[in-house]
């Protein structure tokens, strides 16, 4: 039997959790689910698992990763679990890694497929998705996290049963616990939600050079992104960076200007529906990942696009 950790936000199971559930269900046998913290009982009612366990405890109103790990570890003895699957979110990954140490098991992070058997055959991502690894996991209790947005989400449904319980938590499990939550800044289009992202790379040439990038992004109601070369030069803050070690974006169109198209940059733009490259070099690697391209100097091309947009708007 498998156990899937289901995270929830504002009373709803996260998509990434329901995608992880799909992988867990594919391992065969019964799939059970674990929901942690306040609001868990309502969420449990929407998960089509044989049994949904709901861990409830006063201390769980703020995220405490060791407490989550303690709960995950109490589960195998509770239900005879042979695999624990979780979404590859930051929280769940953290808790799963702690659970792995406590159980003395390996953790296979960021899987995209798993074929049942012993060993379990896995495909997991490396380099933020630029490379795949096929691996064999030798263990009686497999711990896996699942890359978000690669598998379909399981459709909501009623659980066979819901079992609420109060886990035993030691003081040590609550040392690392969120003390304070700082709300997101209001206003502005966030890079991760934007329908249009206009990114400038090293080809922009300077911090001031970003005026043309900002202008086009502004006209399209989009967000400005940048490459790591730009961040490392101090031209833009790291919060604007797109890529493996920056933001993962999913716009309708990604306009990448003066960006060569390194694998680590493109790893952040895999969710983009279309890519338009603006580059002086027709041989740049980005030309083989982009759908459309303009060959030319971004300092001429971008102002011309902005002017044309204004002209058509009258």
């Amino acid at each position: 039997m498998n156990l899937c950790l289901v995270e929830h936000l504002d009373g709803v199971a996260t998509d990434a959790s329901l995608q992880a559930f799909t992988l867990a269900a594919g391992l065969g046998g019964e799939t059970h689910a674990l929901v942690i913290g306040p609001g868990g009982a309502e969420v449990a009612a929407t998960i089509p698992a044989a049994v949904v366990y709901v861990a409830e405890h006063d201390a769980l109103d703020a995220f405490a990763p060791d407490a989550w790990a303690a709960i995950l570890c109490a589960m195998p003895s509770r239900t005879g679990v042979t695999a624990i699957v979780a979404p590859g979110s930051a929280r769940a990954t953290d808790a799963m890694a702690r659970a792995a140490v406590r159980l003395g098991e390996p953790l296979a992070a960021n899987c995209i497929s798993a074929t049942p058997g012993n060993p379990l055959l896995l495909t997991r991502i490396r380099w933020g998705g630029s490379l795949l690894e096929e691996a064999r996991l030798h263990t009686d209790c497999a711990l896996l996290t699942v890359v978000p947005h690669t598998l379909p989400a399981v459709a909501p449904g009623s659980p066979g049963a819901v079992e609420r319980f109060t886990p035993e938590l030691a003081d040590a499990d609550l040392v690392v616990r969120v003390r304070e939550r700082v709300a997101p800044p209001a206003g502005g289009v966030s890079l991760t939600d934007a329908k249009v992202v206009v990114t400038g790379g090293r080809g922009v040439g300077s911090a001031e050079g970003f005026v043309v990038v900002e202008e086009l992004a502004g006209l399209l109601g989009g967000a400005v992104g940048c490459s790591r070369a730009v961040t490392m030069s101090g031209w833009r803050p790291h919060t604007d960076q797109v890529g493996q070690t920056g933001n993962k974006i999913a716009p309708e169109i990604y306009i990448a200007c003066g960006v060569s198209g390194a694998t680590q940059h493109i790893a952040g733009a895999k969710g983009a529906k279309r890519i338009l490259a603006v580059n002086t070099d027709p041989e740049a690697p980005i030309m083989s990942v982009a759908d459309y391209a303009v060959v030319g100097d971004l300092h001429e091309v971008l102002p011309a696009i902005s002017a044309e947009l204004r002209r058509r708007r009258g």
Partner: protein, 255 residues
């Protein structure tokens, strides 16, 4: 403040990943190497903490003999000394890596006193296991917060921040502690020429741990298919503007 930062040497793969014939590794013959970006910020932070509070910063890597280059890079921006756990170039899994690091930390602490803070990258750039720092923290019995974008030393405690959903989670850890950090924590400095000269003379201790068998066994690496297309050229220079706006209108993102 005595800080240890653990870093990993990774290839700078650029525009296209090419594998070795046996599909076990990236072909690195023509590639340069760097400290994985998250850890590069870890090094900068350790150096800043010691600049602000006094003490010592130490950099550790588990990697092939050539990984001394990354230890020297870290020492060039200010780390005081290095610990090199030398491998034969084979990849070590997170359990094995953490085991060797724990042994090295215990040995170093026995000889020269405890570390207040041990920093790791949240995940390595190449294998992305997301667990080495946590494994070390558990083995040493120290608290650990992960994925940090800001840290600050207070009176006997350590305040750190994690980004989540556009906002931030704040933690306070007692020291000694282990943290895993993300790029964006700071903007790492470039090493100066005198810094590089000094780095060559800083102490570096090397040892050769034994690699245990892995329970997460790599069968092969695969470059994902369907990556290669040929972009449709909409035009050259400013003359392409009209075709670009046609495209934007067609997608429906112009209003």
């Amino acid at each position: 403040m005595k800080a240890l930062v653990c870093v990993k040497r990774v290839p700078m793969t650029g525009g296209r990943i090419v594998l070795t014939d046996d599909e076990q590794a990236i072909e690195t013959k023509h590639l340069g190497f760097a400290i994985s970006p998250h850890e590069e910020c870890g090094v900068e932070e350790a150096v800043r903490l010691v600049e602000a509070h006094g003490g010592e910063s130490v950099v550790l890597t588990l990697g092939p003999p050539d990984a001394e280059e990354q230890l020297r890079d870290a020492m060039a921006i200010g780390a005081d000394r290095g610990i090199h756990l030398v491998t034969d170039g084979e990849e070590w899994d997170p359990e094995a890596t953490a085991g060797a690091i724990v042994a090295a930390v215990i040995a170093d602490e026995t000889a020269s006193g405890p570390f207040d803070l041990i920093l790791f990258g949240n995940e390595s750039a190449d294998s992305g296991g997301f667990q080495t720092g946590l494994r070390v923290a558990y083995a040493l019995g120290r608290p650990c917060a992960t994925g940090l974008k800001a840290v600050a030393v207070g009176d006997g405690s350590f305040r750190c921040e994690q980004e989540e959903g556009g906002g931030r989670n704040v933690y306070e850890l007692p020291l000694p502690a282990v943290v895993t950090v993300l790029e964006g924590l700071n903007l790492p400095r470039y090493p100066s020429v005198p810094g590089r000269m000094r780095a060559g003379r800083k102490p570096l201790e090397a040892s050769t741990p034994e690699r245990p068998a892995s329970r997460l066994e790599r069968a092969r690496l695969v470059v994902p298919a369907g990556e290669s297309k040929q972009a449709e050229i909409l035009g050259h220079g400013a003359d392409a503007a009209s075709a670009v706006v046609d495209l934007l209108e067609q997608i429906g993102v112009t209003s």
